[in-house]
């Protein structure tokens, strides 16, 4: 399992996959992609890494306990809905702000985006939790 080639490849692949996962997450609202796919992609990166280097190394690189990642993700998704409840709107009503970025055009930021980030983190955390746990029983 722990062949040199795999290790080297994974070491290169991990940052790439992470970057790609963020890209998928961010473009998801307008093109195929989104929090799920992004989260899965990020997790796949770490899964490969942990197969190559062992789960303890992967955990060390990750720094944060994947269980907490789940909690944070859920909390983020939840609070994007809660915000609107405070604004006297039904739960999960989308609220949008337009940011002007000068020459770059304008960026639309909305609560659904936060929601999607929450999804991303949860999916990531869950997948990692499962993979680490399965690996560590062996």
């Amino acid at each position: 399992m722990t062949s040199l080639i795999l290790r080297t490849m994974v070491r290169l692949l991990l940052p790439l996959l992470l970057l790609f996962s963020v890209f998928l997450l961010l473009r998801g609202h307008n093109e195929p992609g989104g929090g799920f796919v992004g989260g899965l992609m990020a997790a796949t990166g770490f899964a490969l890494f942990s197969i190559a280097f062992g789960s303890s190394t992967a955990r060390r690189i990750l720094q944060i306990d994947p269980l907490v990642l789940i909690g944070v993700g859920l909390l983020l998704a939840l609070s994007s809905g809660l915000m609107t409840l405070l604004l006297e709107q039904p739960f999960l009503t989308g609220v949008w702000y337009k940011l002007s970025l000068g020459a770059l055009g304008k960026l639309e930021l909305g609560t659904p985006l936060f929601f999607d980030i929450g999804v991303y983190l949860t999916v990531w955390g869950v997948t990692l939790t499962i993979i680490f746990a399965l690996e560590e029983v062996g």
Binding site: N30, P32, V37, G94, P112, F115, A133, G138
Partner: protein, 780 residues
């Protein structure tokens, strides 16, 4: 006030345990105060009753269910209430002496007064459902009291039997009550009385009568439900006295009397009620012939007496009802006495076997006096209350027909015999083996003689001066049953006539029968059939257990695949049933537009699935499953669902990784099922598959309504600021789904983590407080 009398006794019941701790051995006397006061109160209502004042009160309980707290105290109710509170007070005193302080007497009084309150509720309730509530509570308290000595298995079994018999009767009766309420448009008894005509004309009348009779008959131990009563003699004697002689078993009688203005007066009523009553009356006496235990003898005579009461209600003439009221009171007095006496004898001598007892008159003079008075009343000796009641019963039967009269005489004759055997012989005949009694007998304590003396005295006093009862109690009670005002005059002595001669003849024959008691007993023992109703009851309980465990082994056998087969077959069955009703209808138009690469993917999916089934290795099967998943993803891609395809590809890959990680530890496949089973499974699978195929054809071909999707397409960009409509649906239009979905994922993650990491340390769990977990499964 009436409602408070009931509530007060309930209150007393719950206060009894602490009060008993407070008053110790004197608790019987203290606790009797309330029932005594109630007796006085009920007596004070009688003059008003004679003037036609009937107390009643009603509170709304549930509008929707039609429930009211309606209470009413007319003559019939008060006749019963006096028995309940009066005898109740004496039994409370008696029990104090009977139990001493050895047993948890607080609990005894709890259930005794709980019973008293419920019984008062039964007779005062002016609402059928309210009556039913109290009725079932009497069954419950009877259960607790019969099983009071619950360390003995016989006591427990008897308690359960009594509860099951009366409980099942009660359930049947409930159905009858509900129907009666529907036919009569009300459950209020005082209103129902006015609608008797309509009820009797209803097509449901027969059903109502049968259902209600079953309830009344089980409670009042009528044939063929009589068998529980002798077994209930496992109860302590104060309980037998109170519940199973004086009051509870008369609840059925009360109900019949109460409903006779509504339901009575038809041939069915005469033959069902009168007939069963007469049969029970004779049967009870006959069954007593072979008994030697005082309590069982009395129990059978109670069955017989209850039969007489029921027969009188069935006959239903004014004389018959008059006889019923008198007999009710007389029986309560003398039977209560005799039971108490039995308890004293048992208490002092250590046995209740009439063959062993004798010559107790000198040793227990007060007990003997009470017993003698009661026995004479029971035998129907002139000037005693029992005589008066029997006179009227004879008169009523005489008017009803020769058959009734013969049966009545036969029943009375047998009761003379029992009275002599239980009430007279142990005291006044020489005991054969006095020295061998388990205990050296002496007079019972004062608390245990006061009851028999008072009740025995009343048996004589009321028989000699019945006038004091006639206008204040008997007339109102009779009026309540007849549904109109009835005036009654009672006399102790009717002069010499046919009926008196018949009474004397009965007495004489009874004495003769007593003289040859040993021969009678031998004959009766030979008659005893090997299987009685009691045996039938036991067999059906056994049968129930056998059926239950057979069914459970059949259904809950533990084989997962048979569970799955059952479920799949059931669901496919009902669904196919629905499809067959549809019958094909307009089959959708099928488009034959097909491209070769699509067909290729379809074939790959099916082949991969087949590989997954047939593969001998785990990894091969998993790989095949993954290929099928990729195939599905390709279909998504071809038909305009890139998001789906992307997710499916990723998930499929991850799943394969997970499978590999987990399968690393799992064993390889083994062929475990024989060929025939596999064939059966193939058939089930193919049928299910066909059903689903048809369903998909139909659903994709028929569209009852167009999809709502256009809304999403139109509003995704302007309102939800997104171009990827699927993603917009996920995070915005149907964001709640997604929230739920990531929650599922989170739980799954937590679950995998906990499942793989948590290992309950068996020893520490066992030693600690947790012994909860599945022992049987967990230990091996």
């Amino acid at each position: 006030m009436i409602i408070f009398s009931v509530l007060a006794v309930f209150g007393l019941a719950f206060l009894a345990p602490p009060l008993c701790r407070l008053t110790k051995e004197k608790s019987g006397w203290w606790l009797a105060i309330l029932p005594l006061a109630l007796t006085v109160y009920f007596l004070s209502l009688l003059p008003g009753l004679a003037r036609g004042q009937i107390q009643s009160i009603s509170y709304l309980w549930s509008q929707e269910l039609g429930l009211t707290f309606a209470f009413r105290a007319d003559g019939l109710s008060l006749a019963f209430a006096l028995l309940i509170s009066g005898i109740g007070a004496l039994v409370a005193v008696y029990a104090g002496g009977y139990f001493g302080t050895k047993v948890p007497i607080g609990r005894f009084y709890l259930w005794l007064f709980f019973f008293m309150a419920s019984m008062l509720g039964v007779v005062f309730a002016d609402h059928l459902i309210l009556l039913f509530i109290f009725w079932e509570l009497t069954s419950l308290s009877s259960f607790m009291l019969i099983g009071f000595e619950h360390d003995r298995e016989e006591a427990r079994a008897a308690a359960i039997q009594a509860l099951l018999v009366t409980g099942s009767g009660g359930l049947v009766m409930l159905a009858g009550f509900v129907l009666l309420g529907q036919v009569g448009q009300t459950w209020e008894l005082s209103t129902l009385f006015l609608r008797g005509e309509g009820v009797r004309a209803s097509p449901l009348y027969l059903a109502i009568v049968i259902l209600i009779l079953i309830g009344a008959f089980t409670k009042s131990a009528q044939f063929p439900f009589h068998f529980w009563l002798p077994n209930a003699m496992q109860a302590p004697t104060p309980v037998s006295t109170y519940l199973h002689a004086a009051t509870m078993v008369k609840a059925g009688v009360y109900l019949l009397a109460r409903l006779s203005p509504v339901l009575g007066g038809s041939p069915i009523w005469l033959w069902a009620v009168g007939g069963i009553g007469a049969v029970t009356m004779v049967l009870g006496g006959v069954l007593a012939l072979s008994q030697t235990d005082m309590k069982r003898l009395l129990a059978y005579s109670t069955i017989s007496a209850l039969g007489s009461l029921v027969m009188a209600i069935g006959i239903g003439s004014e004389t018959a009802l008059k006889a019923m009221v008198l007999f009710l009171l007389a029986h309560g007095l003398y039977k209560g006495t005799l039971f108490l006496v039995t308890g004293s004898v048992d208490h002092e001598c250590g046995t209740r076997d009439v063959r062993e007892l004798g010559g107790l008159g000198r040793l227990m003079p007060y007990t003997a006096l009470g017993s003698t008075l009661a026995a004479l009343s029971m035998a129907g000796v002139p000037l005693f209350f029992g005589f008066l009641a029997k006179e009227y019963l004879y008169e009523a039967s005489y008017k009803a027909g020769a058959l009734w009269l013969i049966l009545a005489v036969l029943g009375a004759l047998l009761n003379v015999w029992i009275a002599l055997r239980v009430g007279i012989a142990p005291f006044w005949l020489a005991g054969s083996k006095e020295a061998e009694l388990p205990k050296k007998p002496h007079e019972a304590p004062w608390s245990m003689t006061v009851g028999p003396l008072i009740l025995g005295g009343l048996s004589l006093g009321l028989g000699a001066y019945p006038q004091i009862l006639s206008s204040v109690l008997v007339s109102p009670a009779l009026s309540a049953m007849a549904g109109k005002a009835v005036e009654v005059k009672l006399k102790a002595w009717h002069g010499i006539n046919d009926i008196l001669l018949l009474s004397l003849l009965t007495l004489g024959l009874g004495v003769v029968a007593f003289a040859i008691r040993n021969d009678l007993q031998r004959i009766a023992e030979q008659w005893t059939v090997p299987w009685g109703l009691d045996t039938l009851y036991r067999r059906s309980i056994d049968g129930l257990f056998r059926l239950a465990s057979f069914q459970t082994r059949l259904l809950q056998h533990g084989y997962l695949r048979y569970y799955l087969i059952t479920i799949v077959v059931a669901v496919v069955g009902i669904t196919a049933g629905g499809l067959i009703r549809w019958g094909g209808g307009a089959l959708p138009h099928l488009s034959l537009d097909l491209r070769f690469y699509e067909l290729g993917i379809a074939i790959i999916i099916v082949l991969a699935g087949g590989m997954a089934i047939l593969s001998r290795s785990r990894l091969g099967a998993v790989a095949a499953l993954g290929v099928a998943g990729y195939g599905v993803a390709s279909i998504y891609l071809l038909f305009g669902a890139p998001d789906l395809a992307m997710t499916q590809f990723l998930i499929e890959s991850l799943t394969v990784i997970l499978f590999v990680l987990a399968f690393y530890h799992l064993p390889n496949f083994a062929q475990l099922t024989p060929r025939r089973e596999r064939l059966r499974d193939v058939i089930i699978a193919i049928v299910t598959g066909c059903l689903m195929t048809i369903f998909v054809f139909v659903a994709s071909g028929i569209q009852i309504h167009p999809s709502i999707s256009q809304f999403f397409v139109e509003n995704a960009l302007p309102l939800a600021h997104g171009r990827n409509i699927v993603n917009v649906i996920l995070v915005d239009f149907r964001g709640l789904d997604t929230l739920g979905e990531i929650t599922v994922l989170a739980i799954a993650g937590l679950g995998v983590f906990a499942l793989l990491k948590l290992r309950i340390d068996q020893r520490s769990a066992r030693a600690g407080k947790t012994t909860q977990t599945g022992r049987k499964g967990g230990d091996q």
